[in-house]
Amino acid sequence: MTQVELPRNTPPEDNRSGNQTVVQKHPKAWKWYDYFTFNTDHKVIGLQYLVTAFVFYLIGGLMAVVMRAELATPDADLIDPNLYNAFMTNHGTIMIFLWIVPSAIGGFGNYLVPLMIGARDMAFPKLNAIAFWLNPPAGLLLAASFIFGGSQSGWTAYPPLSLVTANTAQSLWILAIVLVGTSSILGSLNFVITIWKMKVPSMKWDQLPLFCWAIMATSVLALLSTPVLAAGLVLLLFDINFGTSFFKPDAGGNVVIYQHLFWFYSHPAVYLMILPIFGIMSEVIPVHARKSIFGYKAIAYSSLAICVVGLFVWVHHMFTSGTPGWMRMFFTISTLIVAVPTGVKIFGWVATLWGGKIRFTTAMLFALGLLSMFVMGGLSGVTMGTAPFDMHVHDTYYVVGHFHYVLFGGSVFGIYSGIYHWFPKMTGRMVNETLGRIHFILTFIGTNLTFLPMHELGLQGMPRRVAMYDPQFVSLNQICTIGAYVLAVSVIPFTINILWSWVAGAKAGDNPWNALTLEWTTSSPPLIENWEELPVVTHGPYDYGLNHSLEVQPSAATQVGA
């Protein structure tokens, strides 16, 4: 594979003659205000994604806390039920489309992929910046939708409900999703080409860090499925505003077709939210356990397997909808199959711990928390994957419990783990480990307190997406609400830690964790074009225990590159 010569991506004042880099004139770092502009550096874009997404996370989290406060009592006494539905819808939408997807793929993907494969930037830097800048307007559209009551039909937006409630807000919601969908398509295209074409020649395919494999699988999945969602939503938009009747049952439309279009994307979307996180896990665990990853090939291939099988399981969200029996059975089987490659990853990480020298850094604590909670989410997922049992728990709090174990216990823990792990690289400073541990303990307790009782609520008969419920469920609901308050508080030590450490944390050095992947071979934070001289790959990304002392590794400043 040849190295594609990159569009160079330096500020205009940089001088270069021919292809000779003039090192002295190379600006070392961006100024703070560069982060607020249309910048094409993948690292700037990565941080833009991460910080913006975190702000959205706080907003979405606030909505969740209001919802849980409402559910502390069986009656709808705190907020109007329609407002409750607007919060419920936008909470889900923001968490998925403006927090997890943009931070895991846009944030970590952009920041890390070029650094991990020894490239100076992404393949299409401008496109990359455009992809990011589609996100803030999407957020503004959602905010504006609240002027019109907010969209209230859930993040699934099933017609006919989405056709008859809060039309303007619903239209704005659709536009927002189409924007982030476009962003995701542009970003994915960029990742596929970058990983495919731009890794340093000295890196063999089996030396590609697993995070990059995960981003590759994620991107392929996003490219295949996002257009289908966009199509479904555009048809919905037409139905609302232009008098078409694709999904209007009284005019010959078919509402179940929408569900197929929606879930054909949105089941893969749940993998979009977890595959990059799996990638983060595969990076963090070996470093802090001082162990080679167990079963590199199995983990890489299982991502691809999930990506393929994940395209054929969508009907498990429709087991009680307009689906015939044979279809319910077919998708039961395919859903059960998708659990196998997921299990392979879990076992691989557990085996990685064996024989290690595990360091309980905050990054590692979050990774371990993820490992322990994802098991729970995976097991409940398998139970719901079977149509006969799902007929009982579908659309109940059991489902809410399940997907928060995977999304909060999984994706959010993974993002936290990644932030603690790469913060020194991104900022050049260490985080405060004590505050980090407090953050971890509060989050771990809060997550289990909030989401564990939900399984029982669902089994006993509490439907989801309700603002009022049967008083028999009040005590379990109050436990959930207390848990949500703990989670709200847990964000405080994190935010303080990040802000304070960014300004005044201890200096990190290039490689504080003694890690072996390429991003640690450059300075912290990395130079604008990542390396003066591109590094040479002399060993695998996880060769711990083989005495690759770090001096052997080509250091950016002193050794001549390829």
């Binding site: 709808a76 329609n82 539905n85 099933y158 409900l161 409630t165 009284d250 509402v255 179940v256 356990a289 001082r290 167990f294 079963g295 090939k297 009680t320 909808s321 307009g322 015939p324 029996g325 044979w326 319910r328 059975m329 039961t332 059960l336 199959i337 299990g343 879990i346 691989g348 557990v350 085996a351 711990l353 064996w354 024989g355 290690g356 020298k357 595990i358 360091r359 371990l368 490992l371 098991v375 729970m376 097991l379 398998v382 149509a387 006969p388 049992f389 007929m391 009982h392 659309d395 029982e456 089994l459 008969g461 439907p463 989801r464 309700v466 603002a467 419920y469 225990g545 083989l546 005495n547």
Partner: protein, 333 residues
Amino acid sequence: MQQIPVSLWTLLAGIVVTVLSIWVGQNHSLLPIQASQQAPLVDGFFNVMLSIATALFLVVEGTIVIFLVKYRHRPGDDTDGVHVEGNLPLEVFWTAVPSIIVLCLGIYSVDVFNRMGGFEVGSHPHMPHSPAHVAQMPGSAIAATLSDASLDESEIPSPAPIPKIGIGATPTELGKPADLVVNVTGMQFAWLFDYPESGVNTGELHVPVGADVLLNISATDVIHSFWVPQFRLKQDAIPGIPTQLRFVATKPGTYPVVCTELCGGYHGSMRAQVVVDTPQEFESWLSENRIAQQQDMQKAVASNPADLSTSEFLAPHAQQMGVTTATLAQIQK
């Protein structure tokens, strides 16, 4: 003291985990009581899955905890762990075991689904005529005429589309017509139950215990979903697509009917009741309601019920069924 070999510990742990998991699967109190013929099937399946899940959970979490303690970093040790890149037999093992488990679960769920009646949907959608117990009731002749004239033609579009979706006859009921047919209509934010054989319309579902009941489910405005947790059965009510649920209630009592598909602001309050009566209670309930509604219907007959829309037709009953005029406005389309 003599060292106990690791294999013995593993054996012991294996036995403890197995016993504990099986116990958990049989002795949890996570599910509400069982009140339909399908419920024990679903619960038996869930209990097996819960046992397997508990065992896997204990093994994986236990392994994690043991590794965390055993392989924790000790101060002053700056070396790496041993270099292991994988182990093929082990990887084959932990791919094969889950594969076998999910294969068995897949076969088991097809079996359960079949016994629940998942494959025989719509084979007998329309009941030929009133079953004996309805026909013998006083006044049933009038009711039958009325229902034929007013309901079958004005409410159910004819020819009625055959619902192919939901839960149908179980293998033992195959080929037999259901004992009782009820048309269930979901609307924002209420359930309506219509007994076409006897012309009764209510906001509360009554079924006799032990009878083979067929619910024809539809919706007038948005999607709703009909769920009785104690029956372990759920089926969406979809505008434009008829669906059905067929079941035998096995335990007299009153259970909630819960809407589980988001249908608007008051989705959470869209609840009704299903009362599982003894056959005698059911008969008397039916005749009471029929007599009460018959008078209303005679008024309706005077004004030619076939010309009435559903909501006009139902208006006199609205109060008694707890249906608001707002909901009636919804059906008036």
